[in-house]
């Protein structure tokens, strides 16, 4: 195992988180063949049946297999979260780099970012999805808009530090153009804060997607995500706890594992915190 991974996994909890994530990802990825079931196949005769050998995690109010739905739902939930993380990191990095490097653009860009940050996350997302209409892509768009300012702030702060380092001036003295300095000399030096932000946003996005779906302004109910599953089955919770419990557990395990992994990455990359390992 490479040294960096061994360092990362020196804390047991980080290793456990990584394994949990790997399991979730594998199940979601191979959901179809693994369960051999259609997540949308209804069987009213078997509605709300308890976990058994036929239905590993039981069935929901329409008799759909819960395990299959969680596995398929993971695909959507993880995809939405991943796209959100990638999108907001890309947009936030661009904004942060520009604001941090070019003095004149700093104030205008960051005031817009501040304005966006002043809205409560979920409220802003609800408003955006409300305007755009509920669909998977719109949920991703709304969440990207919500999380972009966070990344922009962090990247700007780090850019302010890095741009003053002598190697940037040295690169200029070699005749490197501004664009290339940003791309080749500054961006790679920002990778550790960006990576940490990405892992946290991944976790937030899973929670946010679930929250939006639960509130009915997220993904349309016919698409199984963990959020829509909890939302759709809450009224049956007093009869069949498992149909709320298992999707909820999936959300908790995934978000928590991502947070722990993010913590681990941050500790690994930030020398000042490394001692606490």
């Amino acid at each position: 195992m490479p040294l960096i991974l061994r360092k990362l996994f020196r804390r047991r909890i980080v290793l456990a988180a990584a394994i949990a994530l790997a399991v979730v990802a594998l199940i979601s990825l191979f959901a179809g063949p693994l369960s051999g079931l259609d997540p949308n196949e209804t069987a009213v005769s078997q509605r709300l049946s308890k976990p058994s050998s036929a239905h590993l995690l039981g069935t929901d109010e329409l008799g759909r297999d819960l395990f299959a739905r969680i596995a398929f739902g993971g695909r959507y939930s993880l995809t939405i979260a991943l796209l959100t993380a990638v999108g907001s990191v890309a947009a936030g990095t661009l904004l942060g780099l520009v604001a941090g490097f070019f003095r004149r653009l700093d104030a205008p860009v960051m005031r817009v970012v501040d304005a966006m940050m002043s809205f409560p996350d979920i409220l802003l997302a609800i408003a955006l999805v409300g305007i755009l209409g509920p669909s998977m892509i719109n949920v991703v768009l709304a969440l990207v808009l919500v999380y972009t300012p966070r990344v922009a702030r962090v990247v700007r702060a780090s850019t302010l530090v890095v741009r003053e380092l002598l190697f940037v001036e040295a690169a200029r003295a070699v005749g490197v153009s501004t664009i290339r300095i940003l791309w080749r000399h500054i961006l790679p030096n920002l990778m550790s804060p960006i990576l940490v932000q990405a892992s946290f946003i991944f976790a937030y996005a899973i929670l946010a997607e679930a929250a939006l779906s639960f509130l009915g302004v997220g993904v349309p109910p016919e698409i199984p995500t963990w959020g829509t599953m909890v939302a759709g089955s809450q009224q049956y919770a007093h009869q069949a706890l498992w149909i709320v419990l298992f999707p909820g557990l999936a959300i908790i395990v995934t978000a928590l594992s991502l947070q722990l992994l993010g913590d681990g990455i941050r500790d690994l990359l930030d020398p000042r915190l490394r001692k606490s390992m």
């Binding site: 002598l166 001036e169 040295a170 690169a171 200029r172 070699v174 005749g175 490197v176 000399h185 990778m191």
Partner: protein
């Protein structure tokens, strides 16, 4: 032939407290294949002079530059570095005019191998592909006498010592075979034995390639050994300029005389003081604030030889018979 002729260079910084003239009316020449040293204490404007010539003044500062810097490139064209368009300037930086900085510890990008960093310059200016540039980078490391260069070329800056990194910086600067090397206190951050090695290396490279060097330093010992011409700066102006031997043998300006008298070696030649102890000489007072310069000669408040006339106006540079010049009204003018 002069590689670079700097004419009446002035650099102003527009600050909240007012316009500061950091470099004032500076003129000097750098002969082809020779070394010109600019000597001065901190804040005398020597680094600003070099950054102005490279057009690398911080973008955060609002600066005004006037004067001319006529540079003769490889093909014999004369270009004014101060008025060139930015893309042309970029083609000159690192290619015709290279620079080494004071701090080798932070001048290299921590996330790239040193080979890649040298290769970047070659790819930019010589259009080499990756493999050719890396091969040339390896040759450059060998040229600057880095042991086990084939292994070092794949290492990161943190794996190298300060002296090694300064060698890498020199390799980086030399990669495109520049005609002018600007060295801004290249050895200040290094210990004395490494200093000597680096200076010897720069000298050898100069002999091999015929490049000119603009050497910025406050170390008079280094100047005496390595420069051909010297310009002494004080408060943004050149107060004395002369060929190196003349300057050290017969300093004209009281400031230059004071600087030389400060050297411990000079001290032994001076008379023992009243209390029987030999003391190091120090120029009294400190540099005047650039916001409130003295009305006359900038050095007048600290000068042991000052007379009333010194307070009236900034003296002009007076050229003497031996090819030197000094900015002092006490220096006799050439006939």
């Amino acid at each position: 032939m002069n590689r670079l002729e700097v004419r009446n260079l002035s650099t102003f910084f527009d600050t909240d407290e007012g316009l500061i003239r950091s470099v004032a009316d500076v003129s000097f020449n750098i002969r082809a294949g020779k070394t010109t040293a600019i000597v001065g204490e901190s804040g005398s404007g020597k680094s600003v002079t070099s950054l102005t010539l490279m057009r690398l003044l911080p973008r955060t500062a609002s600066t005004q530059v006037s004067g001319q810097a006529l540079f003769v490139n490889r093909t014999g064209q004369t270009l004014d570095l101060l008025t060139l368009a930015e893309p042309q300037m970029r083609a000159i930086r690192g290619n015709e005019v290279a620079m080494i900085f004071q701090e080798p510890m932070t001048s290299l990008n921590p996330v790239f191998t040193i080979g890649e960093q040298i290769a970047e310059s070659l790819r930019l200016h010589k259009g080499l592909d990756h493999a050719a540039a890396m091969a040339q980078a390896l040759r450059m490391l060998e040229l600057v006498e880095i042991p086990a260069a084939a292994q070092r070329v794949r290492e990161y800056p943190h794996q190298l010592s300060g002296g090694m990194r300064q060698r890498v910086m020199i390799a980086l600067a030399m990669a495109c075979d520049p005609t002018l090397l600007i060295a801004d206190e290249p050895t200040t951050a290094l210990d004395v034995t490494i200093q000597a090695q680096i200076l010897a290396l720069m000298r050898r490279l100069q002999a091999d390639t015929g490049m000119s060097i603009l050497f910025i330093t406050h170390n008079l010992g280094v100047v005496a050994h390595h420069a051909d011409d010297v310009a002494v700066m004080y408060a943004g102006r050149i107060v004395e300029a002369a060929p190196v031997n003349n300057l050290f043998a017969q300093p004209q300006h009281p400031y230059t005389q004071g600087l030389l008298a400060c050297l411990p070696g000079q001290q032994r030649k001076l008379a023992v003081q009243k209390d029987g102890k030999r003391r190091l000489y120090a120029i009294r007072g400190q540099v005047s604030s650039p916001l409130a310069p003295p009305p006359g000669c900038a050095f007048e408040p600290r000068c042991d030889k000052a007379i009333a006339a010194c307070r009236e106006a900034m003296p002009a540079l007076r050229v003497d018979d031996a090819g030197g010049s000094a900015r002092c009204i006490l220096v006799p003018e050439a006939a």
